[in-house]
C-alpha cells in the first residue's frame, strides 16, 4: 500500500482531481484549472504517476476541427486504490493542524494544504 509520504501535496491534489471522476478521461488543462498547478508542475507529476503504473494516458481519437489531438489521463486500478488510500491518510493529517490551531499553545505544522475531496 502506498503511504502518504510518497506523494507531495501537489501530487495529492492531482490525485484528488483524478479521483473525483475516476472512470472519466481528464485533460491536462482541466486538471491544471482544478488543482491550480502550472503546466511545468502538473506534467512532471503526471509523468511520474504514469511511470509508476498509477496513471494511464492516451491520445484523443477524434479531435475538434482545427485543433490538435489532446492527451487524456485516467487513474489505473492500482492508481485509484493508491490515490484513495493516500487521500484518506491525508484527510486526518490536514484536519489535525486545524484542530491544533484552535488549541492555544500548540503550533500548527507547516506545509501546503491539500483540499482532499471526500473519497468516493
Amino acid at each position: 500500500m502506498t503511504s502518504r509520504r510518497e506523494f507531495s501535496p501537489q501530487t495529492l491534489s492531482v490525485l484528488a482531481a483524478l479521483c473525483a471522476e475516476p472512470s472519466q478521461w481528464h485533460h491536462g488543462y482541466a486538471l491544471a484549472t482544478q488543482t491550480g498547478l502550472k503546466s511545468g508542475t502538473l506534467y512532471p507529476i503526471l509523468i511520474r504517476l504514469s511511470d509508476r503504473g498509477l496513471l494511464e494516458a492516451c491520445w484523443q481519437d477524434e479531435p475538434l476541427p482545427g485543433r490538435p489531438r489532446r492527451h487524456l489521463y485516467r487513474l489505473t486500478a492500482d492508481g485509484l486504490a493508491s490515490a484513495r488510500a493516500a487521500l484518506a491518510e491525508a484527510a486526518p493529517a490536514e484536519a489535525e493542524p486545524a484542530r491544533a490551531k484552535a488549541r492555544p499553545g500548540v503550533s500548527p505544522r507547516r506545509g501546503r494544504g491539500v483540499a482532499a475531496p471526500s473519497v468516493p
Binding site: Y29, Y43, H71
Partner: protein, 437 residues
C-alpha cells in the same frame, strides 16, 4: 503578443525533438493542450512551463554542460595550437585547426542522424576519451610543427638542421604552405573519427562490454608500445632514452606480441561473452561482430593512446627544459646533441600516423581471428540429420519453404525502414545479438 506566442510555439515544436522518444508524447501533449488555454499571458505561461518540462526531460542541462565543456576544451586546444608568430605555413595550420574543430562538431551530428546517438554509457565515455585525445594532440602537433619549421640561424644547430632537413631560411620557417599535408591529415582524422562514432552509435550492435574490453586491451598495447617508442617511430634507428640492452629487447618482444595479441584476446573475449541461444547463424554473426568491434577498438585505442603520449612527450621536450632533463636523466648530452635529438623526435612523430592506420586494421583482423578461435562455428551435420558424418544417415533436412503468396515479397517497407535505422528505429527492440552480449 501574437509574435511572442508564435515564437514560443515554434520554439516548442523544435524543442520537442530533443526530448527522448519515450517522453516525446508528453512534450507534445503540453503543446497540444496549449490550444485550450486562453490566449495571452496564460497561454504563454503554459508554453513556458512546457519548455521547462522539455528541458528537464530532455536532460538539456547535462547536454548544455557537455557542450560548454567541449567548447572550453576546444578553445584551449585551438589557442594552444594557433601559430603565435607569422610563419609561412601558418595559414595551413590555422585552416587545419578550424577544420578539425568543425569535424569534431559536425561528424557526431551526422552520425546521430544516420546511426543514432551513443547507445550506452561505455559508448559515451569512449567518445569523450577520443575527443580529449584529439584535442590534446592538436596543440602538441602544432608545437612540434613550429619547432620543426624554425631553422636555426647559425652554428652547430644549423649544421644539424641542414644535415637532417636540407637548407632553409635562417630564423624563419622552412618550406611553403603544406596544404597537401594538412588535407591528408584532415581526411585521415575524419575517417578515424567516423569509425569511432559509428562503433559507438546506438544502431551499431556493439555491446558495452565489448567496448570496455577493447579499451582495456588498447590501453595496455599503447602503454607498452610507448615504452618502446616514446619519441616517435623509427624502426631503423629507434630512440629509446629509457630502455637499454636486454630490457629494450624484452619490451620490444612484448610490444610485438601485444600488437597482434591484444586485439586477438579482446576479440576472443568479446565474442565469447555474446550468447545467442537457439540460433547458430545469428550467434556466428553476433560473435563475429563483437570480435571485429573489440579488435578494432583495441587497435584504435592503442594507437591513439600511443600518439597522445608520444606527441605529448615530444612537444613538451622541445618546449620545456625540465622534460628534457627527465627524458635524458643522468646522461651527459651537449646542447647540439639535445637539439639533434629533439629534431629527430619531431620528425619521427609522424610515424605514429602509420600506427593510427595500421593498428586498427591489424586489430579488426585479429579480433575476427580471436573470436573465430574462441567461438568456432557450429558444424551442421551432413544431409541435415543430427548424427553427423560418422553416424547413420539422418532423416534429411527440412522441406523447402513454399513461395510466399505475394510473389516473393519477404519484407515490407516499414520493416525495411526499421532495419536500415529509419526514424523510429530507436523504438525498435534491441538487436538479438546485442541483447545477449
Amino acid at each position: 503578443m501574437s509574435w511572442l506566442g508564435q515564437a514560443a510555439g515554434a520554439a516548442g515544436r523544435g524543442a520537442v525533438r530533443v526530448v527522448p522518444a519515450a517522453r516525446r508524447d508528453w512534450a507534445e501533449a503540453v503543446w497540444a493542450e496549449a490550444h485550450e488555454v486562453p490566449p495571452g499571458w496564460r497561454r504563454l505561461a503554459w508554453r513556458a512551463g512546457g519548455l521547462g518540462l522539455m528541458a528537464e526531460e530532455g536532460q538539456m542541462a547535462r547536454t548544455i554542460g557537455i557542450w560548454l565543456l567541449f567548447a572550453v576544451a576546444a578553445g584551449a586546444a585551438a589557442w594552444g595550437a594557433w601559430p603565435g608568430s607569422p610563419v609561412s605555413h601558418g595559414a595551413a595550420v590555422q585552416g587545419g585547426i578550424i577544420m578539425t574543430l568543425a569535424l569534431l562538431v559536425g561528424l557526431p551530428l551526422l552520425t546521430r542522424w544516420v546511426l543514432g546517438p551513443p547507445g550506452n554509457r561505455a559508448a559515451r565515455l569512449l567518445r569523450r576519451g577520443f575527443y580529449a585525445a584529439f584535442l590534446a594532440v592538436m596543440p602538441a602537433r602544432a608545437a612540434i610543427g613550429m619547432f620543426l619549421g624554425a631553422v636555426p640561424r647559425s652554428g652547430i644547430n644549423r649544421h644539424v638542421y641542414d644535415v637532417s632537413q636540407g637548407p632553409g631560411v635562417p630564423g624563419s620557417s622552412s618550406g611553403g604552405t603544406d596544404w597537401g599535408g594538412e588535407i591528408a591529415v584532415l581526411v585521415f582524422t575524419a575517417c578515424f573519427l567516423a569509425v569511432i562514432l559509428a562503433l559507438t552509435a546506438r544502431r551499431t550492435p556493439v555491446a558495452p562490454a565489448t567496448l570496455a574490453i577493447g579499451v582495456g586491451a588498447g590501453l595496455v598495447l599503447g602503454a607498452v608500445v610507448y615504452a618502446m617508442a616514446p619519441l616517435g617511430l623509427n624502426p631503423k634507428f629507434p630512440n629509446r632514452p629509457w630502455l637499454h640492452g636486454s630490457a629494450a629487447e624484452t619490451v620490444g618482444v612484448l610490444a610485438w606480441i601485444l600488437v597482434f595479441g591484444a586485439p586477438l584476446v579482446a576479440g576472443a573475449i568479446a565474442g565469447r561473452r555474446c550468447h545467442v541461444p537457439d540460433d547458430p547463424a545469428a550467434a556466428t554473426v553476433a560473435h563475429a561482430w563483437q570480435g571485429f568491434a573489440g579488435g578494432l577498438v583495441s587497435g584504435g585505442v592503442g594507437a591513439m593512446f600511443l600518439t597522445v603520449l608520444g606527441d605529448g612527450t615530444t612537444a613538451l621536450m622541445v618546449r620545456s627544459a625540465w622534460v628534457r632533463d627527465v627524458v635524458y636523466h643522468g646522461q651527459h648530452v651537449t646542447a647540439s646533441a639535445v637539439y639533434g635529438r629533439e629534431l629527430y623526435a619531431s620528425q619521427n612523430v609522424s610515424g605514429y600516423y602509420l600506427l593510427l592506420i595500421g593498428f586498427p586494421i591489424i586489430g579488426l583482423l585479429m579480433g575476427l581471428l580471436g573470436t573465430g578461435i574462441a567461438n568456432p562455428a557450429p558444424r551442421l551435420p551432413e544431409g541435415g540429420g543430427p548424427n553427423g558424418p560418422g553416424g547413420p544417415p539422418g532423416p534429411g533436412g527440412p522441406e523447402p519453404m513454399p513461395d510466399p503468396p505475394d510473389g516473393g515479397r519477404d519484407i515490407d517497407a516499414e520493416e525495411l525502414t526499421i532495419l536500415v535505422g529509419g526514424p523510429d528505429a530507436e523504438l525498435a527492440a534491441p538487436t538479438p545479438e546485442l541483447a545477449h552480449c
